[in-house]
């Protein structure tokens, strides 16, 4: 199924369905492997509805541990029924009831990988990423051969924009299930966001058969191929993109983004204007226009575009975050603070907004607020050396020179390590929030 123009950007509400689809087939540790395998093999990247398992838990013979009736006469249901009830509740979106049922399964069968996995899914739907990771890791330990669990672990990282950490689980899924289109696409995107261009091309290219009508796919493949110097792939993807894109607003948005990535701001804006003529409320259109104006240092117009993007999609944090950045550049601290706070309300894990707050407080001499914000950043992003740099400055300012020195030492250590690991910093880090969502 192609992702037509109206669906080229996934909405957040669609994503949870996908996540549910990832794990609703998890039954028990014995059947998990086969079921997930068969599901993964039949998975289509454009599939967004929950799959019905080929066999339900209740149809499976109970294990000795989950045998109904043994000393459990007082229980209202046996573990199989509880599991099915949990699954039903999960499908119906009743997360509390689902959680309750899966926890009761675990009370009887503490080695039920399926229960842990579905608890992980529940946490994912609640965007409780740490908890989701804990549950999924437990499931993975109990059922290490089940690729689907690792797929969800990768998704947890992916949903937090931690594309580097997502690579290992996706790679492992693809090793086990080389035909998994979903794992391949996600892994390709992770390589892309980590600027591992050649690996992104090699990973994404085999999806051509089913994705060559997907403009997002073509766009990512073209950019990666260009960066990797794979001219033929680049040209092929661009030709197809032009062919299917025609004069649609989505096509112009992608072209604009391509120019933006190439730091051709005026050309990007020309494409965005074209896109706006076709669909002024196209998601992320004004966000990208804002980025172009931000690059041009036209802060007033950038702010205007981010505000328009917020009007179109008031529940997406990125535009608030960028609006805060613009206000900070204009030294409008109160407005910047307000925007960053709104971004954090929508996405409490948005490091850039938390860091933006910290910088404002530091600049204003609100030292305790700055330290508090920096502590939050450190929790969200333990590898963030900026935290130590800024904290050192705040501590220095309040006379805690020894602690400040320790922070600067930590900063230097981390900076040097990051430098070694990453090598030369590359250019073209244009935010791609719309691409960071899971593909259909």
């Amino acid at each position: 199924m192609s992702s037509g123009p109206s669906r080229w950007i996934r909405r957040p509400e669609q994503l949870d369905i996908l996540l549910l689809a990832d794990t609703t087939t998890l039954r028990n540790r014995r059947q998990l492997g086969n079921l997930i395998c068969s599901w993964i093999l039949s998975f289509s990247l454009t599939l967004v509805i929950p799959l019905t398992p080929q066999k339900t838990f209740s149809q499976l013979p109970p294990t000795s541990k989950t045998q109904a009736g043994d000393g459990m006469r007082e229980a209202p249901r046996n573990p199989e029924q509880l599991f099915i009830a949990g699954e039903t509740a999960l499908r119906n979106g009743d997360l509390n009831r689902a959680e309750q049922n899966f926890r009761r399964v675990l009370a009887t069968d503490p080695r039920s990988a399926g229960a842990y996995a579905n608890l992980g899914v529940i946490s994912m739907r609640r965007k409780q990423w740490d908890q989701a990771l804990r549950m999924l890791n437990k499931a993975d330990r109990l059922a290490p051969t089940v690729a689907g669990i690792r797929l969800n672990i990768g998704l947890v990282y992916y949903r937090q924009n931690d594309f580097r950490s997502a690579i290992a689980p996706f790679e492992s899924v693809l090793r086990d299930l080389p035909n998994s289109a979903q794992a391949r696409y996600l892994l390709g995107l992770c390589y892309f966001f980590n600027e591992r261009w050649a690996e992104a091309v090699d990973t994404l290219q085999p999806l051509w058969g089913e994705q060559s009508l997907n403009m997002n796919y073509l766009y990512v493949l073209a950019i990666a191929a260009q960066k990797a110097g794979r001219t033929q792939v680049d040209e092929r993807a661009l030709s197809r993109l032009a062919e299917i894109g025609q004069d649609t607003p989505e096509f112009h948005l992608l072209m604009g983004k391509a120019h933006l990535n190439n730091e051709e701001d005026d050309k990007a804006l020309a494409e965005f204007v074209q896109a706006a003529k076709g669909d002024p409320k196209l998601p992320f259109l004004h966000f990208n226009m804002g980025l172009a104006y931000l690059h041009k240092q036209d802060y007033k117009q950038a702010a205007q575009e981010f505000r328009q993007d917020i009007a179109v999609e008031p529940d997406v944090a990125f535009a608030y975050d960028k609006l805060g950045t613009v206000y900070a550049l204009e030294e409008k601290d109160a407005e910047a603070e307000s925007s960053f706070r709104q971004a954090l309300r929508l996405d409490p894990h948005l490091v850039s907004s938390q860091l933006g707050l910290a910088k404002i407080y530091q600049k204003q001499g609100k030292n305790s607020e700055a330290l508090s914000a920096l502590n939050q950043v450190e929790k969200m992003s333990p590898d963030n050396y900026t935290v130590h740099y800024l904290r050192g400055q705040v501590l220095q300012r309040i006379g805690q020179r020894e602690k400040a020195k320790a922070e600067f030492d930590t900063y230097t250590r981390m900076m040097n390590a990051a430098r070694e690991k990453r090598g030369r910093e590359l250019s073209g880090d244009i935010p791609n929030p719309e691409l960071m969502k899971e593909p259909e």
Binding site: L238, A258, D265, E331, Q393, R397, R424, S427
Partner: protein, 577 residues
């Protein structure tokens, strides 16, 4: 769809000339490169391929009045190549052009006795023995040179006798009397360790000798850095190397380049800023006891706003916002933008690159020579940046910024922001070049600051400033008596109308370069300075009142104005036009 639109990676150079703000300002001055007509014809020596890092870093330019005739002479470093260095020990380290009558320059290098061979990198001028004649210090790969001025632009090589040969890969040099004993001392930054017998082949390391997939010269990543040096002037013509004792030796061996002294905390003692390529920059705070404390990170001036270390090259101090404190401009490697740090006083420095609007124009280029300078005599400091890549190979990358890059000029908008005015100033139309050092001064004494720029592998550019806008200005030549003779480190504060501005006499700065030692102030429409205050390195402060504009004043420490020469009416400044 046009394929090239996507394949192109480089910036579109968009010159945005925004609308005028109140109050009305003069037109952007026009710069004209008159190097060839003026006789600056000696090409800088450099291999075309730049196979080794040492072939990419040279070098600086300098302004000196070597015979005290009131007209600036010009020094350029010559560079060299690995082959020439191996075969002949390099080349003459510098070329000295004497300014003759009619604004013509003559190469007098050999007659002047500036004959040490090597691989010239940087220049700093000072009168180390207080004999009233400016001496020349030259940094270079494989050894530095100190030339003692004997008068009439004749020099004696006193390097060995003075003990300032340095060695290694020396780059920046900056003189200042850091202990205020009346004699200038010398700081020398050093870059990477290069062993001429074991040069790493281009592209030989997959990590350290590649750039965007191209096989290029190796380094500085992966190469061992070198420590920095501080030579304390004993006052008898000799120096003692005291960097470790003073705490400025750089034990981590970062890759040192531009260096400049400046009293950032207004305590009357010179502090030191050192740009490091691919590392945190240093801010050495003078502790008044012959030692320094490195406070770059603590003061917020070592790295970018997000803590990102940058590939820093050139530096300059200047009070661009008239708050009475020195701010700092640092030029950086490509994709980093140059960095403007605003001095907040007790709150340290804040990176205001974004708010000041200099990110976009500087981001695609490798920045080198730079300065805060008042290009239109408005009383507000503008910014110039010389650019040029280090890898000629980038020309093969589609869309990338090329090896030869444009110069950038920013006009101070008086509200904390800068406007890029390279095009109306005529700079954007000049031939591209890979440029390095830039020196700023009153080369034709018309009252508009001119610029000399080093072009790698080519003769230098002499950018004559045609700023006929009617604004008034003044220059001060300071002569120390108790202080060091060239008054390096002296601060002059000028009050004219509502404007209060200050500057300091500095030796070394920009990228390995030497500016005019005379201090220039634009005065806008003011024809008079209500107060001129000079704080000498000795600590003594002198205040003069009601000083007319449009003169070059010579002020002797303790004795006030000793000489003055009238600057021409700007509309009469038709020299070479």
């Amino acid at each position: 769809m046009c394929k090239s639109t996507l394949a192109t990676l480089g910036f579109l150079i968009t010159v945005l000339v925004s609308g005028q703000k109140t109050p009305p300002r003069p037109a952007v001055p026009h710069f004209e490169d008159i190097a060839a007509q003026a006789g600056l014809s000696v090409p800088h020596i450099s291999s075309p391929e730049k196979r080794y890092i040492v072939e990419s870093m040279s070098g600086g330019v300098g302004l000196i009045d070597c015979d005290n005739d009131g007209k600036l002479d010009i020094i350029t470093v010559n560079g060299s190549t690995v082959d020439r260095y191996r075969e002949n020990g390099g080349d003459l380290m510098i070329t000295l052009y004497h300014q003759d009558a009619g604004f013509k320059f003559t190469d007098i290098t050999k007659q002047a006795g500036l004959t040490r061979k090597g691989w010239g990198m940087g220049i700093a001028v000072a009168d180390y023995d207080n004999d009233g004649l400016p001496d020349i210090y030259v940094t270079g790969y494989g050894g530095n040179a100190l030339y003692h001025n004997l008068g009439n632009c004749k020099f004696e090589d006193v390097t060995d006798k003075a003990g300032v040969g340095g060695g290694g890969f020396s780059t920046g040099a900056a003189w200042a009397d850091y202990d205020r004993d009346g004699y200038v001392d010398l700081f020398v930054s050093r870059y990477v360790h290069v062993d001429m017998s074991k040069l790493p082949a281009p592209g030989s390391d997959a990590k350290f000798c590649r750039y965007r997939g191209l096989l290029v010269q190796c380094g500085p990543w992966g190469m061992q850095g070198e420590s920095d040096l501080l030579f304390h002037n004993r006052g008898d013509g000799t120096f003692e190397e005291v960097s470790k004792k003073a705490g400025v030796d750089d034990p981590n061996h970062y890759y040192g380049l531009g260096a400049e002294w400046g009293d950032y905390d207004n305590d009357g003692w010179p502090d030191l800023y050192v740009a490091n390529d691919a590392g945190p920059n240093f801010l050495y705070h003078n502790r008044h006891d012959g030692t320094f404390e490195e406070e770059g990170l603590a003061q917020g001036i070592a790295v970018g706003a997000d803590g990102m270390q940058q590939g820093s090259m050139g530096v300059d101090w200047g009070d661009y916002d008239h708050d009475g404190r020195l701010d700092m401009i640092v030029t950086n490697f490509v994709d980093q933008s140059d960095t403007l740090y605003r001095n907040l006083g007790r709150q340290g420095f804040v990176d205001v690159t974004g708010p000041s609007h200099i990110v976009k124009p500087t981001y695609p280029y490798v920045g080198w020579g730079t300065a805060f300078f008042d290009m239109d005599n408005s009383g507000w400091l503008d910014i110039f940046v010389a650019n040029g890549h280090v890898y000629p190979q980038v020309d093969s990358l589609p869309g990338e910024a090329h090896y030869r890059q444009p110069m950038l000029l920013f006009r101070n908008q008086r509200d904390g922001t800068f406007e890029e005015v390279s095009a109306p100033a005529g700079l954007a139309a000049m031939p591209l070049a890979s440029r390095r050092g830039a020196a700023f001064g009153e080369i034709n004494n018309d009252g508009c600051l001119d610029i000399v720029v080093l072009n790698v592998g080519e003769p230098p550019s002499l950018l004559l400033n045609h700023c006929q806008n009617g604004n008034h200005r003044v220059l001060f030549k300071l002569v120390g008596t108790k202080s060091n003779r060239l008054a390096i480190g002296a601060r002059v504060t000028v009050k004219s109308g509502k404007l209060v501005q200050f500057s300091e006499v500095r030796s070394g700065g920009s990228y390995l370069s030497q500016n005019d030692l005379r201090l220039h102030f634009g005065l806008g429409t003011e024809t008079n300075m209500s107060e001129v205050s000079i704080t000498w390195p000795s600590g003594k402060t002198e205040t003069l009142h009601d000083i007319p504009a449009d003169f070059i004043y010579t002020i002797l420490e303790g004795e006030g104005i000793r000489d003055k020469s009238k600057l021409p009416h700007l509309m009469d400044s038709t020299i070479l036009k």
